[in-house]
Symmetry: C2
Subunit: 194 residues, 2 copies
Amino acid sequence: MLALVKLNYMRETPQQPFGTRLLSISKNPTDMGTIRREGLAAVAKNPQRLYVQNLPMKLDAQWITGFVDGEGCFYVGINPHPEMTAGHQVLPEFTVVQHERDVKLLHALKDFFKCGVVRTNHGDRMAYRVRGKDHLLQYIVPFFVKHPLKTSKRLDFEKFKDILLKMKAGEHLTEQGVEEIRQIAQKMNRGRLR
Amino acid sequence: MLALVKLNYMRETPQQPFGTRLLSISKNPTDMGTIRREGLAAVAKNPQRLYVQNLPMKLDAQWITGFVDGEGCFYVGINPHPEMTAGHQVLPEFTVVQHERDVKLLHALKDFFKCGVVRTNHGDRMAYRVRGKDHLLQYIVPFFVKHPLKTSKRLDFEKFKDILLKMKAGEHLTEQGVEEIRQIAQKMNRGRLR
């Protein structure tokens, strides 16, 4: 008999290894997210970190919005890619970077958004990163439409969203579309400030 | 007849000038905070900024916690002060720094916490700052006790709180107390990371 089982390595969204699953958002809706306690090995390794991670932690939408207002980045890269019809690849990404001591918070964001990966950024910095138009359109954009950012980073998000909607319509696959996206992307982040 | 009127310049907490009062937290509890619309003069001056400021804005406790997790700083300075008995002055402060384009957000924090000032930090950076043990003990510490920070910045806050409780007990007025406070303060912020 053939059982319909989806093995972990077949999942579209990469899962963090077992050790980091200790930080997971509770499924109890009245609780909204709790960090589970770590084992004794972790205590011996770094008691200071445990002190933070043992505290109950609510990750709710408004906290995430505030944190992303401070630490988040919406970015659209446009790289030459001779194999594509338009000659360029459009690479939107949403990133939150933290010192490695707060990596569990990045995993909590990953759990919350149900997409993305946590990777080393550079040196002792870790990054939560969501790439690819499908996950961005499905999870990230709707969240920040529903829970608007309050700093001027919102202007970046609006352009990020506009570019993703163009990508949804396939405009990034034509030279003209890439040029229009480039015009918008130039006004994001530091470009907005000029 | 003598009327009991408290003029604006007599207030203990400095009020921002009229123009910046446009950003104020709504008193409607179901609304939790709305930015009022600016006049046409502001539109002509800088249409991009108006775009952000016109959007409805909720400033709630969890957003503030998330934003402070990213952008806030708890700091205790200890300066030589020959006129004081202990020979030193202990200066705790809570600060949030932003680019001047988001100064209205700093005023919103000031309105929320009912204390502190918004001032130029350096260059194009503005700071929301609360100094003085009374306001810190009355408004800032209880807020972050009730709404715990989620990053390891919480460790700084805990030490900040411990120092303020020592100050409440008058320990900063003795040489021994200042030395104990110095020991705690050295382990905050960058000192915590060493």
